[in-house]
Each structure stands twice: as C-alpha cells, then as structure tokens.
Amino acid sequence: MNAPFGRWWASALAAALALSVPGAARAQDATAYFKQNCVSCHTIGGGRLTGPDLKDVTVRRDHDWLLRYMPNPKALIDAGDPIAVQLFQEARGVLMPSLPGLTPDMADALISLMESESKLEKSQFVGVQVSDRPFTAQDIERGRAIMRGDIAQLAGGPPCLSCHTVRGVGALGGGRLGPDLTKVYERLQGRKGLSAWLSAPATTTMQSVFRDTPLDAEEILPVVAYLEEAARQGGEDSGFGRVTFLLLGLGGAVVLLAGMDGAWRKRFRAVRGPLVEEAGFGRAHTRGGIR
C-alpha cells in the first residue's frame, strides 16, 4: 500500500464503494471538502447565510439525525421530518443540494470537524467579511465592468457575461449557459449570501471554472453592488437581447451578401441565355417542348 499506485487504487475503491477507511488524512479531507462545498451557504460562527450558522450544530441536533440529513436533505423533507421542513422554510425554499462525495464516512468526518471548529474562539469558516459600507455609484459601475469583462479579474477568471445575462447589461444580453442573474441578489438573500456564494460557488460548473481563479474579495463587493442594483431595477430579461441578436445577424448577412454582390458585380453569370433573351427569342425557347 506504500506504492503510489496502491494508494490511488485504494482511495478510488473506498470512494466507489463508500467503505469506511479510517485514516490520518480524514480530518484534512473534511476541511478541504467543507471549504469547497459548504462555505457558500454556511458559516461556523459567522452568522446565517442561505443556510444556518453551523456553530454548535452538534449540540442543537442529534448526531444520527445529522448523519441521515446531510447526504440527502430532500428525502428527509419529502418524508415530512419536522426539523428538515422547518429548515427548508427558513431558507425561503432554497433546497440544500445532495452533494457528490458526501458519503456516510465523510459526513461523520464533517460532523467531527464542525464540532471541533465550534469550540474554537474564531473558526476558519467564519465566512467572508464583506464590508458593510453602503454601495456607491462607483461600486455599481465597477461591478458592471467586471461583470462584462471590461475590467479583467485579478485571478484571470472569465467574465460573468460569458455564461450569464443580467437585464440591462448590454444590447445583446449575456450568455445563456447559466441562469439569468437579474434577481440573484434576492434569491441568495442579499449581500451576505451572495458574497459567500461568490467567494466559493457550490455548483459543479462554477467550481470547475473558478476553482483555480477565484474572485478577489475586492471584486466581490462591486459585483454584489451591481447585482443589487439590477435586482432593484427589477424585471427578468425580457428576451429583447435575443431578438436584437437575431435581427443583427439577419441584417449583417444581408449587408454582407449585398457587399459581395457589389464587389463581384462583373462576375461571369451566363453567356448563351442572355444572348437568346436579347435577341427576343427567350419566350419561344421556354414555351415548353413536345410531349
């Protein structure tokens, strides 16, 4: 098991079969997992985000209940578990997702982690500390620029616009790969939730894009400011961008074809046909043959 190949093989098997493999690296794995998957909705001692503050959660909740809830929250809500339903309502209908790799063993490790972190004076998962200062017009403008990619992100991540659209971001709108972000400020319950999400996005897609190029804390504030402004302006994307895009495409094609027709107006078309037409025999030739 000391060979690298053996270790890899063992961990792959453990993950695949969800076997309980107690190891020294367990706590470390849990920390990394928590950072990657939990901090966008939860803090430990930093107050409520989308999900509740997890400080002393092991005191509030039964260990077995946590073990049942964490891997599949939806099943518990569907089953009518009163605590689960209450949590669902507190989160204003935002469902805690079933996370990949959250095996019973990992859940156990996470519970241990939460327990030990709760005892600390200040947990490392206290969450991003976003300034409470009111948004200024410059913030909004700067957020818009970051959003559109006019200002490059410090870590070099892609601009939001390549996958998302926001109402009023530009004539052509943004990308349609990700959801419309016009109301995201309300959906993620304001400044704190949105900031937490932006510091560590929890979805697989966002993770794969931003794992290596996370948004800087200095960038999160303006983006949040801009999205707050967008949500205040209200209204979903009307589809105006889509129509504009189509019309621009059609118009561009027509202009291009007309330009080509002009540039090659002397091109060879036909010789014999026009000759016959000019001599006034065109109609006789197309009158239809003998059947």
């Binding site: 091109r267 060879f268 000759l275």
Partner: protein, 497 residues
C-alpha cells in the same frame, strides 16, 4: 538556342466541308462516357457564329488566355497566385452548363409505350445529367450552318471592327456567307491551362509537346477551364476531374494519325513535327500585337540548318524526329509558304494548330448579260469577298490584315497559275505576274498545289517514331528499380526491417 520538337497541325479551311466526321470519330473513341457527354475535344464551328461554348472567343466574359501588363510581363487573365486563394470557392469566369449545353438522349420507349392519342408518339428528350425530361435549349453545334442568324452569327466576337454595312451584308439574304472552323486543343507552346493549374496536373510532354492532364493529380479546381482561351479543357462532372484532347497520343506513338485526322473526309488536316527555339518563347509571346504572327513564326527553326540539327541533338531530339521535321508538311505551310496562321494569336498562348484561311465566294460583277469575274486588279476579289478581310484578320491575325492578305493572295495566285496550266483561259503572262505579286515562284506554286490537292496519307501525316523510352529516360532513371522486387515494390527488399 534551345531546340525542342513539337507535333504541330495545319487545318486547311478551304477544304473543310463541315461534315463533323472528325467530331464523331473523337467522341466515339474518347468521350462516350458518363460525365463526358458534353465534351467535344474536336468540334466544327460555323463562322460567323458563336461556337462552342457559346461566344468562347469573348474573353471579356470568359477571361481566358494571357494579357500583357503595363510592365510588359505576361499574366493570366483569369487567375494569379492571389486570386487562386480569394476565388477558391467561386471562380468568377467559370462557364456553366448552360453555356455548353445539357447533354441529352431520347426516351425511345415512348414510341412503343405511349398511350393512344391524336398524334404520333415522339421520342422525348431526356437529360443525361439529371435523367429528367427536358426542353432542349442548346446543343454542341447549335448554330451549325446558321450564319445570318440574329442570335448567334450577329454576336460573333470576330465581327469587331467591321463597318455597319459589312455587318448588315453578312446577314443579308443571298449575300450571307459562312465557312467552317474545326477546332481541337492547340497544344500551345505557352499553354494558359498549364500555367493556371494549382495542382500541377497539366503538363506539356517533353518529347512532342502534347499537352496532357494527369487524372491522378487533378483536384478539380477548374482553373484550367477558365484559363484556356479556346475552352478546350472540360470538367467531367462524374469523375470530378478535368479532361482534354490528348492528340490521340496512343495512336501517335504507334505511328497512326489521331482519330480526327484519320477520319477527315475533306483531307484538310496535316500533322508534322516542328523544331522550335524554346529560349526565345517568352520574348515572342510578349511581342506587340501586330508582330505576334511573325514572332511565333520566327520561333520555328529550319530543320535543314546544320546548326539547328546540332542543337537539336544536344537537347536530346532523336535523329528520326529531325528527319520527320525535315519532311513536315506543317513546316511547309507555316514557315516556308506562310499560308497557315495561328488562331487568335492575341491570346498569346502560341497555339501549335495553324489554319489556312478560306477563300470565300467572290462577289461577281455583272457585265451586260454575263457574269464577269476578271478585272484589272486580279486580287480584287480578296477584298471584295463576302467574308470581310477584317473578320479573318480578327480570327487569324490578331486583328491585323497583313498576314491574312498575304496568305489569301498566294492561294489566289496558285489557283490562277493552275488555271493557266489546266484550263488555259489565262495567259502565262497574267499567271506569272500574279505569282510575282503574291511572292510565289512557279516551283512553290507546284508544291503548294501538290500538298493541297494531290496529297497522300504519307504526305499529310509525317509522324516520327515515338521513342517513349528516351522520353522517359529524360525524366527518371531507368535503372531506378534495378535489383528491386519487380512486383511493385519501390524499396529494395532487405532483411531485418
């Protein structure tokens, strides 16, 4: 001096009867295949007329041949290195099927299967491209014998420069006139098709100058089709490759005349070897329009000149080829007698097919009750001929009358000389004077008469032995595959590999 040999041709238009036997002979051998139905490597056109494809001589539209830049260099009209790229998906000078014609056959079954009706059933024309019934709108020889027609004859590009009166007379009833113009690939010395090919599929064969198209290298770009001003390269829509006249090289290599020559009813065709100076070719092709005919003629070397013979041997021309060049009827017609002229030399491809211009019907003068053909100026009828001199000059003299006039005067003089000898109604004095004025001696007149009227097959076709083995040795080493397996292995078999 860099001597090369070229198989060249003369068509004597005064003898062509427009029977199309040549076209059929060629079609039966070479182009009776799918995709090649519309190709006529040999065709016979009526002049004045627009020919095949329609109005092929109008290079304003087809953009074929070479042009001289202001700097005096030659460049293709249809393409160059830059335009090969920009026109890669659309060639602006490509003729369409409608400019040729849609090949068709007939649905003969309809003659037997047609339902009972008021009329006799007919064989309905059916397209050989789409297989659908079609209305025939054009054919390969659509304006055959149709001179005077307002659609075709009046649009002949060679009518440029004619006066209104001359034009109207050409379509006036009882005055209109036509002659036949049989055409094959000219196997040019400066072929535009070879220059235009982006794939290097077209080449001019070293030993006899036949221009061929390698079917394995052709990629169907069709640059050759627009580049050839004579429109003698055709695109096979079935194989996706272009094809052209091969001058029946399998026949020529075995000592036979090409099929169109062999089958010629009027015996108008002559085939022989010319030795020419390749080092002066470029200079000649850049000449001024009025000098082009003479410049091309000056490329042709005297095969009896010892210096030429020596230089020819040095560049690998076989003695048998030199001997054939000395007996070449083409050399006599083109260089010695100056009777045969290249078609549209202004395209600057230096065609190696020459035409003896036709003697058109004479506008006779009515004197009292009888038609009088004789006037004091014995050559008057050349200028009074129904075919205007300018028309022939546009065809055979790059628009300049001098070479055409010279050829016609000499033909005229030979006729009168023979008339003196056989009919006897012309005085010897008159005949001698005409010969003198036409730059011709009695001996030359006899020779012209002999080769024009009494020629045998051996006189008309002087084909040298092929010597393919020497031609191949010029390009590749015959010992290259020695010690090879001999069964298609290029690499020598070796152990341990």
């Amino acid at each position: 001096m860099e001597v090369r040999s070229q198989i060249a041709m003369v068509f004597h238009l005064d003898k062509c009867i427009g029977c199309h036997t040549c076209s059929i002979a060629c079609k039966n051998i070479w182009t009776d295949r799918k995709g090649a139905e519309y190709m006529w490597w040999n065709n016979v056109e009526t002049k004045p007329g627009t020919g095949f494809p329609t109005e092929w001589e109008n290079q304003e539209k087809y953009g074929g041949g070479w042009q001289r830049t202001p700097g005096g260099d030659l460049q293709l009209k249809s393409t160059d290195k830059r335009r090969v790229v920009t026109n890669i998906f659309h060639h602006p000078h490509q003729p369409s099927m409608d400019d040729y014609y849609e090949p068709w056959t007939y649905d003969y079954q309809n003659l037997f299967n047609a339902p009972e009706g008021q009329d006799q059933p007919t064989a309905i024309p059916i397209s050989m491209v789409t297989g659908e019934y079609i209305d025939i709108k054009a054919g390969p020889n659509w304006d055959d014998d149709l001179s005077g027609s307002p659609v075709y004859a009046e649009n002949d590009p060679n009518l440029a420069g004619l006066t209104e009166q001359q034009r109207s007379q050409l379509s006036a009833i009882e005055r209109l006139v036509f002659f036949y113009f049989p055409r094959i690939c000219n196997h040019c010395l400066n072929p535009a098709c070879v220059a235009a090919c982006p794939s290097g599929a077209l080449y001019k064969r070293g030993e006899d100058g036949i221009v061929l198209l390698d079917q394995t290298r052709c990629r169907g770009w069709r640059s050759c089709i627009s580049a050839c001003p004579y429109k003698k390269v055709y695109y096979n829509w079935s194989t996706g490759k272009s094809e052209k006249c091969i001058l029946c090289f399998p026949r020529v290599e075995t000592g036979q005349a090409p099929a169109c020559f062999h089958s010629c009813v009027g015996r108008i065709r002559y085939l022989g070897v010319l030795l020419y100076d390749a080092s002066r070719l470029e200079e000649a092709a850049k000449s001024n329009p009025e000098d082009l005919v003479e410049a091309q003629r000056s490329l042709i070397l005297d095969p009896h000149d010892p210096a030429v013979i020596e230089a020819a041997r040095k560049s690998g021309v076989d003695d048998a080829v030199i001997d054939a060049a000395q007996r070449s009827p083409v050399y006599q017609f083109v260089k010695v007698w100056k009777l045969a002229l290249p078609p549209h030399i202004e395209y600057r491809t230096m065609p190696m097919l020459f035409y003896v211009p036709p003697m058109a019907p004479v506008m006779a003068q009515r004197n009292g009750g009888r038609v009088d053909g004789i006037s004091q100026d014995f050559f008057h009828d050349i200028d009074d001929a129904r075919v205007p001199m300018q028309f022939l000059a546009n065809l055979f003299g790059a628009g300049h009358e001098a070479p055409v006039r010279y050829a016609l005067r000499k033909q005229k003089a030979v006729r009168w000389y023979r008339r003196m000898l056989t009919v006897g109604d012309v005085s010897q004095e008159t005949a001698s004077r005409m010969l003198r004025e036409a730059d011709c001696s009695p001996e030359e007149a006899d020779a012209i008469y002999q080769l024009t009227s009494l020629c045998t097959v051996d006189d008309r076709y002087v084909i040298p032995p092929a010597h393919r083995e020497e031609a191949i040795a010029m390009l590749e080493d015959p010992m290259e595959h020695k010690q090879g397996a001999g069964f298609g292995f290029i690499a020598r078999p070796a152990r341990g590999e």
